[in-house]
Symmetry: C2
Subunit: 391 residues, 2 copies
Amino acid sequence: MENFTFYAPTYFVFGRDAEKETAKYVKRFGGKKVLIHYGGGSVIRSGLLACVKDGLDSAGIPYVELGGVQPNPRSGLVYEGIELCRKENVDFILAVGGGSTIDSAKAIAAGAVYDGDFWDYYQGKIVEEALPIGTVLTISAAGSEGSPDSVITNDNGMFKRGATGEALRPKFTILNPALTQTLPPYQTACGISDIIAHLYERYLTNTKEVEVTDRMIEALLLTMIHEGPRAMEDANNYDARANIMWAAMMAHNNSCGVGRSQDWTSHDIEHELSALYDCAHGAGLAVVMPAVFTYNMEHNIMRFAQMAVRVWGCQMDFEHPEKTAKAGIEALRQFLISIGMPKNFAELGAKEEDIEKLAHTACYGDVRNGTLGGFVELHQDDVENIYRLMI
Amino acid sequence: MENFTFYAPTYFVFGRDAEKETAKYVKRFGGKKVLIHYGGGSVIRSGLLACVKDGLDSAGIPYVELGGVQPNPRSGLVYEGIELCRKENVDFILAVGGGSTIDSAKAIAAGAVYDGDFWDYYQGKIVEEALPIGTVLTISAAGSEGSPDSVITNDNGMFKRGATGEALRPKFTILNPALTQTLPPYQTACGISDIIAHLYERYLTNTKEVEVTDRMIEALLLTMIHEGPRAMEDANNYDARANIMWAAMMAHNNSCGVGRSQDWTSHDIEHELSALYDCAHGAGLAVVMPAVFTYNMEHNIMRFAQMAVRVWGCQMDFEHPEKTAKAGIEALRQFLISIGMPKNFAELGAKEEDIEKLAHTACYGDVRNGTLGGFVELHQDDVENIYRLMI
């Protein structure tokens, strides 16, 4: 195991009606002037935004609002949020929504107290200072509610890039599984796909002797395989939603990723798809993952075989471990299809003729240096080959 | 799943030579006058104490010392520590040692800023204020390095009782697996037994639909079954020690215990043994656990069968699930014996003639009200029967 530090000081309030306590936690973590950041109509229609605002009103905490976050959140709105925070002397950012809203809130939180362009953080500069952030989560997916990470799409060239820094960990997060019951099935499924991807990205490691984190990742995947279909079958299954919600957070707060190299190839390759076609990130990942794993399988057959046996219940073929490894990837593919995820470029709205451009941007776009991948080092031709596996 | 809150803001510094950074973290978390609290000779002999003191000296942070913590730490030393903190205006407690040292440090930290008797906290009062605590861990076992809990033995009557409160979570914890390589095999095994017990206490729940935490607990148990024997076989196996160290912390920081009722019967029944005979807590648990589980098995055969199949690799007997449940308990018993743990009262130094007294103290001692157990409600006659299973 490699040396590491781990610090996850987010206060989680989990359960039915938890959102009613939002103002209490804004106050506990020092918020005196709040920016409420959200997306579109769903938090308005559901009454969640009104509930949060009522709470702040009752607590005498003033706020301003900025809605309009899109899936694959954009830099334009971040700049707008930063300006608003400065103008209104905001000292606390409250994200009400899913991963896109939280990521956008994190970018605003970092940018509001930074003299330079906030995009610097999305080019590799570590975020060391940011306004405090609280979140009220409405979809189990990104894990941003407990992570130090944020992903933003730059309107200028449509690069999708990530930033990180301990200052971005939310101070508190409200997790009410019932809030996810009103999601359309497709969004629930996209969330499941994203959670599974966060686990695979950590599982695909070159670090030896990491049994504890292997086992934790497997545990969270087994949970998703059990609970995912239950949530798809009955959107109102509170317990399935609850198990998924905690698994989503644990999958990405990095307690199961410490002390080991990680991959993130699937995310990098997917980000180009959702940046260019504005498809849902989870849907993109569902198409990307089987292709990446098939391409990279030879790098460590036994790792894929272990996943296949421990998580997907495949029988180990001791004479031909590569068959077991393949069976595990196929089981993942079938699982994703079974919950309604797309299976290829066409279903995603992606185009074969863009492959060279996609691969080039993935490898050279913005500050990239020609390669990607923590598990296998991939060059542009590799990435093109991977995209071709998705046709 | 039940509603819950979860907040675990401990900064973990994990890896080789991590102890050299102790002073940096004392400073980061505001320590200006430190009490270094430790046990006996091992931290002196190993040079660990000197290393920590050198670091504080170099950082210009003054300190006082209080050694002499025993396994099953006593109230007498806690009172001494509290007095010393007040006299010396200590504002930070640094525990260098194992669970006993950390628990004693927590009691001092709480008592130093409390007007009443610190023992109030060990009679049920929640700790809401305490001096900040840092730890340098020397044995993987108690999980106290990442938990809000502390257990102290009262010299006055030899009650062993626990306190809890978020204020008791360490601000930082130094985890260097290499520091555990010098432990005698018996102590390593006691630690393994304690970690396993923390997982079973959480697994034995009456809450339904808790797949995510079930799976996480199973993951950590599978880790212990794999890594425990490797650490016993080769004390210097750094990777085995590292996996155990992270598993021990995860087993007890409660991320795998949220939203579900927990048991803690084995701990309550064991505490009477280590209070009376001063045996090692982990050794006591090794004798207690199979007895408790055998006695309670009928309460939920399927829960024990699930544990047997998923963790101990037993074949499910679908016609006679109770046979599978029993096989799992037997597998646990054999595992504990295989790493050198005692298997009965005699090997523990406990006496059959004390059973009534032990059971009475467990059920009525100090502030107890006649019953114990979160999984099955047990009365004194049940507890006597359980002790008899250990003969």
